[in-house]
Amino acid sequence: MNRLKKKAWTELISCGIGFVLITIPLFLVMAHTNARGLEFVLIWVIFGVPTGLVMYLWEAKKLKQYDEREREIIQKAFSFSMMIMVLYLMGFSVAAFFLIGGGGSVPVVFMPLMFFTGMFLGQAVNSFIILMQCTKEDDE
């Protein structure tokens, strides 16, 4: 297995595990306990921003180890996954409008749900494209 395939599988599996074991349970607990307030937002900022920054720096550092063709595949997969994510979020938002109507309302729980599922979908598409590209190359 080449390192690009390894990267795609690692990200897909870790994202899946993180989504199922951390995001969903945490989200359910928060929704169930109706956690809210400014201090709650601050907790997310305090923990979320450094985590995001560390992950970004980690990815940027790892990107340097790939050669130009691998970086091109990674960038193409990223662009396509972003496009899918935006389409999904647009579809979700517009579908809600058409299904419920302009005067209707939806529980706010749908907003983070839309965001988290969109993120997961984006990551899954990203990994899937890299794996498809690697498999295609292996066949050739």
Partner: protein, 70 residues
């Protein structure tokens, strides 16, 4: 408008250079073997720096390794 296609003599040059393997060439120019395979088969057009590195690995000019066919 015709589509330009980049062709190359990497395979022949590897054999002329004492049957150099794809891995040896990859190590020499600092890329993966998959990149050399894709370049050799014409599925990937390398950047100018990589094209120069490949040409230098064989002691050739870039034009002697890569050709642009219209």
């Amino acid at each position: 408008m015709s589509k330009d296609q980049l062709t190359n003599n990497i395979r022949r040059l590897r054999f002329d250079a004492g049957e150099m393997t794809q891995q040896q060439l990859a190590d020499k120019v600092g890329v993966t073997r998959q990149t050399i395979i894709a370049t050799e088969q014409g599925r990937y057009a390398p950047s100018l720096p990589l094209a120069i590195k490949i040409a230098r690995a064989f002691g050739k000019q870039v034009e002697e390794v890569f050709q642009l066919e219209s």
